[in-house]
């Protein structure tokens, strides 16, 4: 107390100032550290999540290897490997016909008339802003028109800046409609004067993927010369099964969803692959590899590459040809990524042993008719599980010389093209030189700065703009500013986790960035509050991961604690966790958040596990390891279920369910007895009709994607917490309509834009006073809402 009293007033003030400043700086540094490890956690979770995908592939590969002729399993397996129907376009048009769909009078959404015009496109945006849903008749119609248009577009969009001032480039949107609306608000909607390039990943994860697609396609139809769409790796129907888009469509369009999905499948395959601006700037979703060749890209039949999980079908498949060529395809599968499977060494052996088996061995183990054999091999061919540059090099040397030249050439080209496309859509830049297979994603490459340099020189380009990776500030340069990542989905991992951004590119081709963060729910939250909430979610997800690996962790701890004291020191705790989870996280920094107490620097790990336990009332009778396993493989499980659910009804038969679990358990070398399966089923088969509701099953065991669930919950909680602020008590739509004005920097006070006024008239409670209130206290809004327009100086 006395340290101040003996000082003069001026000195006291000075001393006080310094004190507060140093405390502030410590606080800021701690915030920064938390922000960083929270980010690391999310990235690690995503990495772990991607590993799930690889597990899925491995499982499917295992199924192929271990095909047994029992009739029930055959049905199941053929469900899984179901072939796409091959029809001509005219047949497809009939299948997708919408003319018989009636639109009831009570439907209050947009009624589209074709050809579309600018006003209808704007109305569509407005309708979606107001949470309306477009009627399936118009959806099909719009999609059909889009399909027709896409079919005449080239693989490489060529854009020029000479006719316009600036081109706007957006990255991943992932179903986050608020971000697209924010972009349009800030930047204006697409038009003749305002061309846009959208760089893929429009769907999955977010909940409004359909609406985003409809908006983008509408503008594409209205301004075909000024809207350019690139394909992303999520424009892929199999990926959609896993990441939520399929589910969204089926939920929103119960009657016609299946046809809509089919049409989208075709549309995705017809999306152009890259865009080039002024022959100087390349825009592509993922990136490049050391073999990327734009001349080749220009020539491919891009629509043959429907999914990255299925190599191209042959153009004219005659029975014998395909049979012969499937041998080649089988060899293609041989070269699976060697390092891919991180957590399943055992099943991986199965793959390796398959590689060593000759085709003769394989065909002799199972007595089948020629037709069945042919079918099986075609299935196998379609499940070439990944494509790496290594594997393709090996493949070309493995091709035998006595093959039919025609077909082997075709395979060569087909294969080569496929790899080119995968590289474009899946690759990521790395800081080291060279080009290596992208084993984290299971497709594409990691490419280094030397590859960039070489590529740019070869094609006389100066910049690569790509997306595909979430960046905290919405954008990031690398490779000596020759590669630019742009990511437009803000709050991607969690509310407050990152900004989104878009690029404006003028004739000087200098990128100008605009960052934003959709803040409907977070207005009024300060930056530290944001950090705390994001951290909270990240830690919850992390704790879950720890819990579901309990058995492995316990073994690891017990290995260290040989005397069975039940105690372990923090350092050992941290190293053990890292060994088991492979998440590369700073566990020692995190430990205060994950461990409630230690005695003498030692942790009572049994007690710790008890603290971590997730309470699942419906599953208490299920054994721990089983629970952990199911939880760990939940995404694989769910995806398989959805594949098996051939009519997309959301239900699978009890028999199929049981077969799937049995196959999974065999694959994991885990015993799942019939009684356990029965128990699982009974607790979820609420309608007792022998069918399982997939969503219910996943939910019953809390097997849903926790992080998404948490995000939803935290959004809800934020809404509730902010009840006291007048504008927050409005329904979301009205809250949104006031949001645009808050997107200004405090320096420039906004005038209410006309757009939000028209929305206001629909919901009259959002009078202007709330709007001006928030404008008055810019301090608390700054962090969340400020648009930072950054002009990047030329290199």
């Amino acid at each position: 107390m006395s340290s101040f009293s003996c000082l003069s007033a001026a000195a006291r003030t000075m001393k006080a100032a310094v004190l507060i400043q140093r405390w502030y700086r410590q606080y800021a540094a701690r915030m920064e550290m938390r922000r960083r490890y929270t980010w690391n956690i999310f990235q690690s979770m995503e990495y772990a999540d991607l590993q799930d995908q690889i597990k899925l592939y491995n499982f499917l590969g295992y199924l192929m290897d271990n095909f047994t002729p029992s009739s029930s399993e055959r049905n199941l397996i053929s469900h899984i490997f179901r072939e796409n129907e091959v029809c001509r376009d005219a047949e497809w048009e009939r299948y997708f016909s919408y003319t018989n769909i009636d639109v009831p009078d009570i439907y209050s959404g947009p009624r589209l008339t074709f050809p579309l015009d600018m006003d209808q496109a704007a109305d569509l945006v407005e309708a979606f802003k107001n949470k309306q849903q477009l009627h399936s008749r118009y959806v099909l119609q719009l999609l059909l028109e889009t399909w027709k248009l896409l079919r005449v577009l080239p693989n490489i969009n060529r854009v020029s800046t000479c006719h316009s001032k600036e081109i706007t480039i957006c990255g991943d949107l992932h179903g986050q409609l608020e971000d697209l609306l924010l972009i349009f608000y800030k930047n204006g909607m697409p038009s003749l004067e305002k061309p846009y390039v959208f760089n893929g990943d429009y769907v999955d994860r977010g909940k409004d993927s359909m609406e985003i697609l409809l908006i983008l396609f509408a503008f594409l139809l209205v301004f075909p010369g000024d809207v350019y769409l690139n394909r992303g790796n999520h424009e892929d129907h199999i990926i959609n099964l896993r990441y939520g888009f399929t589910k969204e469509v089926l939920n929103k369009y119960k009657l016609h969803g299946k046809r809509i999905l089919k049409l989208l499948q075709k549309i995705f395959s017809w999306l152009p692959l890259v865009t080039v601006i002024d022959q100087r700037v390349l825009i592509v979703h993922g990136g490049i590899s050391d073999t990327t060749d734009l001349a080749l890209i220009a020539r491919v039949d891009r629509h043959r590459y429907v999914s990255s999980l299925r190599p191209p079908k042959k153009k004219t498949p005659s029975r014998t040809n395909v049979y012969a060529d499937s041998e080649r395809y089988v060899e293609m599968i041989i070269c699976k990524n060697r390092g891919g499977s991180l957590t399943f060494p055992k099943p991986f052996d199965a793959r390796e042993s398959f590689q060593r088996r000759s085709l003769q061995d394989f065909s002799s183990t199972v007595a089948r008719t020629l037709e069945e054999e042919f079918e099986v091999r075609r299935r196998q061919a379609e499940f070439s599980l990944s494509s790496f540059s290594k594997s393709h090099r090996i493949l070309s040397s493995a091709l035998s010389s006595d093959s039919e030249p025609e077909s082997s050439e075709f395979t060569d080209t087909g294969n080569d093209e496929w790899k080119q496309i995968l590289d474009l859509l899946w690759s990521d830049p790395m800081s080291h030189k060279g080009c290596i297979p992208n084993e984290v994603r299971g497709g594409g490459c990691y490419w280094g700065p030397d590859v960039t340099e070489d590529f740019l020189n070869r094609h006389s380009l100066q910049l690569i703009i790509r997306s595909h990776e979430c960046k905290q500030d919405g954008y990031e340069f690398c490779h000596n500013r020759k590669v630019l990542t742009i990511f437009s989905a803000s709050n991607y991992y969690e509310v407050g986790s990152n900004r989104g951004a878009f690029i404006r590119l003028g004739p000087d081709l200098v990128p100008y960035f605009v960052q934003y963060q959709a803040t409907r729910m977070t207005r009024g939250l300060s930056f530290p509050q944001n950090v705390k909430r994001t951290e909270h979610t990240a830690l919850k997800v992390l704790r879950e991961q720890l819990f579901v690996h309990k058995s492995d962790l316990l073994s690891a701890f017990q290995e260290i604690d040989k005397e069975n004291t039940g105690l372990i020191c923090l350092n050992d705790w941290a190293s053990a966790i890292e060994r088991v989870l492979h998440l590369d996280l700073p566990w020692r920094v995190l430990h205060p958040q994950l461990v409630s107490s230690t005695t003498d620097g030692k942790l009572d790990y049994h007690g710790w596990f008890r603290d971590l336990a997730l309470k699942k009332p419906s599953s208490e009778h299920i054994e721990q390891t089983m629970l952990e396993t199911l939880y760990r493989h939940r995404s694989t499980l769910e995806t398989i279920f959805r594949i098996v659910d051939t009519d997309n009804s959301g239900l699978i038969t009890f028999e199929d369910f049981r077969q799937t679990l049995k196959l999974l358990s065999a694959y994991l070398k885990m015993e799942i007895s019939d009684e356990v399966i029965n128990e699982l089923v009974i607790s979820t088969d609420t309608n007792n009709d022998g069918s399982i509701d997939i969503d219910e099953f996943m939910e019953a065991f809390r097997l849903v994607d926790k992080s998404r669930l948490e995000r939803g919950k935290s959004l809800l909680k934020l809404m509730q917490d902010n009840q006291s602020l007048p504008q927050e008590t409005e329904t979301p739509r009205t809250v949104y309509s006031t949001a645009p004005q808050t997107s200004q920097c405090p320096a420039s006070q906004p005038a209410d834009p006309p757009a939000s006024n028209t929305a206001d008239s629909a919901c009259s409670q959002t009078a202007n006073p709330p709007v001006s209130q928030t404008a008055d206290s810019p301090g608390s809004q700054t962090e969340d809402l400020c648009h930072i327009s950054v002009v990047v100086p030329p290199q």
Binding site: M1, E46, P528, L583
Partner: protein
């Protein structure tokens, strides 16, 4: 989608650290003859192995080198020291860094081995400022003695005196703290700073 990259990052920090490039012992500045020379090499490290591992984790969090070389810039040094729970002033940080020039702050880097003695030195500093001092500091601005301070005055002082804060920093500090009259209740303000 942003995966964790499997780049050969991890092996690097485990390799033996290269010889320190920076010679941290500065020549004493003539204007302040009282300040002793800080010879980092002579500092005895008293941390336990466990503690060092923890510091390494934190250090790595701030490593922004593209290839994960376990280095931080001079400008980040203060942040890492503070993130580890210490309370140096900017002047303290510059001292341990060897009074670098302004342009060095963003261009020069230090590795973990060099950082440790700095951390040790800072952790021994006696006048870190206690919580009570902090409260006292705020009370200085409580003109009416009623537990509140004027936000505007605080902003002004923090931005113009002592180790000046930028407008951005002040905004972050005061975010959501001022009431409708622009006053800050400093008990909750302190909780806000400390609980963060």
């Amino acid at each position: 989608m942003a995966p964790k990259k499997i780049e050969p990052k991890k092996p690097e920090p485990k390799k033996p650290e290269p010889k320190k490039e920076e010679a941290p012992a500065p020549a004493p500045v003539p204007e302040t003859p009282k300040e002793p020379e800080l010879d980092l090499k002579s500092i005895l490290l008293e941390f336990t192995a466990d503690q060092i591992e923890e510091f390494k984790d934190a250090f790595t969090l701030f490593d922004e080198t593209p290839t994960g070389e376990m280095k931080i810039s001079y400008a980040q040094c203060g942040d890492v020291l503070r993130a580890l729970g210490h309370n140096p002033t900017n002047a303290d940080v510059l001292t341990v860094l060897g009074k670098p020039k302004a342009e060095d702050m963003n261009t020069k880097y230090l590795d973990f081995e060099t950082f440790l003695p700095m951390l040790q030195h800072i952790s021994r500093a006696k006048n870190q400022g206690t919580f009570e001092d902090f409260v006292e500091g705020l009370r200085v601005f409580d003109k009416e003695g009623n537990g509140t301070v004027m936000g505007a005055e605080l902003r002004h002082v923090l931005a113009t005196l002592g180790e000046k804060m930028t407008e951005d920093e002040v905004d972050r500090l005061m975010a959501g703290q001022e009431d409708a009259n622009g006053c800050i209740n400093y008990t909750s303000f302190i909780k806000h700073i400390l609980s963060g």
